[in-house]
Amino acid sequence: MTDRRLELIMGTLLRVGVALAASVVLGGGIWYLATSGMTPVDYRHFHATPRGFGSLGSLSGPEAVIQLGLLILIATPVARVIFSLVGFALERDRVYMAITLVVLAVLVYSIGSAWW
């Protein structure tokens, strides 16, 4: 494994994640516009209803599909960091494995602490 190959695989990983997220959001978006395209918009007031992974069930069908796509989008950079860890392990680069682990730990802490 060289840095160049790492970059290429990472690029592919990001492309796949983004394409997947975009198709799901697009699908949900078309459904959403078809069902509520003519209703008036109202984002003037914030309704602080906590929404976690479990909230997918409480959203309407099209909104739940969009939310799923957004979760895939948010997971994409995290997956990139996880892959970096594997890549640096294959390069036998201990220093960068440690660096990547720290980043991953902070990410997991930060994303995790929002749910618990």
């Binding site: 984002y43 003037r44 929404r51």
Partner: protein, 278 residues
């Protein structure tokens, strides 16, 4: 206004945001947030959620192309992400204890000055000392120039790392602005070539934003109906932007960058004074 018209407008604005965001390494929030709040009357919390989605979409969308072409420096990115992610968590903790309005005004002023600095190439003396730490961390690399690969050393690694911690903290505290500090630190302090600085910032901001995404989702800032046109528009724009970066002149990119962060600076000052950030 009905949902269809609203989504169409947001899509077009987001496409522009993604285009500028991917060229400058700033993400799309600079354009998305003020248009949503000032022109379309969207609540600040929803706008922040949309801005976060736009940053992740710009970052991941353009990074694929930049990695393939060999612009982004993944080691510089990974190394500095340690500082930005820890800074972001620290910033989120400090949010309740710091006068955010005053901070926004101060940071806005710093950004205005940086916009001026960014217009010109920083002085790179021919015989400048390469940082030994950069060699040990394998940060020195090369990027595709007009006439083949151009190698570059990385300077002042520790100072750059410290500034990145500040960048992360500000992004945790203020929600926007981390990309600007990243590009400026890499370009002006670590003396990394401009295109490498912006594309590496672009590569990093997705991870910094993902670190805040949990909190935003948990509080319900990210609302599907609004995030949908933002994400799709930003993606379309960022893919177009990534195609333009390759052939773009560095001078032109510096001008665009300076203009965008000057706007960002004024946004921050406005928000700080009007109390929009809470």
């Amino acid at each position: 206004m009905n949902v269809l018209v609203f989504s169409g407008i947001v899509f077009v604005v987001s496409a522009l945001a993604g285009f500028l965001g991917s060229l400058t390494g700033l993400g799309g929030g600079v354009v998305v947030t003020p248009v949503l709040t000032l022109a379309l009357g969207v609540d600040m919390h929803y706008a922040m959620g949309a801005s976060l989605v736009s940053v992740i979409a710009t970052s991941s969308g353009a990074a694929a192309a930049y990695l393939r072409e060999g612009y982004s420096n993944i080691r510089v990115g990974m190394f500095l992400e340690v500082a930005t992610t820890i800074g972001a968590v620290a910033g989120a903790f400090l949010m309740a204890k710091v006068p955010v309005g005053a901070l926004a005004v101060t940071f806005g002023a710093v950004l205005l000055y940086s916009a001026w600095l960014a217009l010109n190439e920083p002085k790179r003396s021919e015989a400048r000392e390469a940082d030994p730490l950069a060699a040990r961390l394998k940060l020195n690399s090369s990027y595709p120039g007009p006439d083949g690969a151009v190698t570059y050393p990385v300077a002042r690694v520790k100072t750059g790392f410290g500034l990145m911690f500040g960048a992360g903290m500000l992004s945790g505290l203020l929600g926007i602005g981390s990309g600007a500090m990243k590009v400026i630190a890499m370009d002006q302090v670590m003396l990394i070539p401009f295109k490498v600085s912006t594309t590496t910032s672009n590569f990093m901001i997705g991870v910094t934003a993902a670190a805040s995404a949990g909190i935003y989702l948990g509080k319900g800032y990210i609302t599907p109906g609004l995030a949908m046109p933002v994400m799709l528009g930003v993606l379309a724009g960022s893919l177009a932007g990534a195609r333009h970066l390759m052939g773009a002149k560095t001078r032109a990119l510096r001008r665009i960058f300076a203009a965008v962060i000057a706007v960002l600076a004024m946004e921050m000052i406005y928000n700080g004074v009007s109390g929009g950030l809470k």
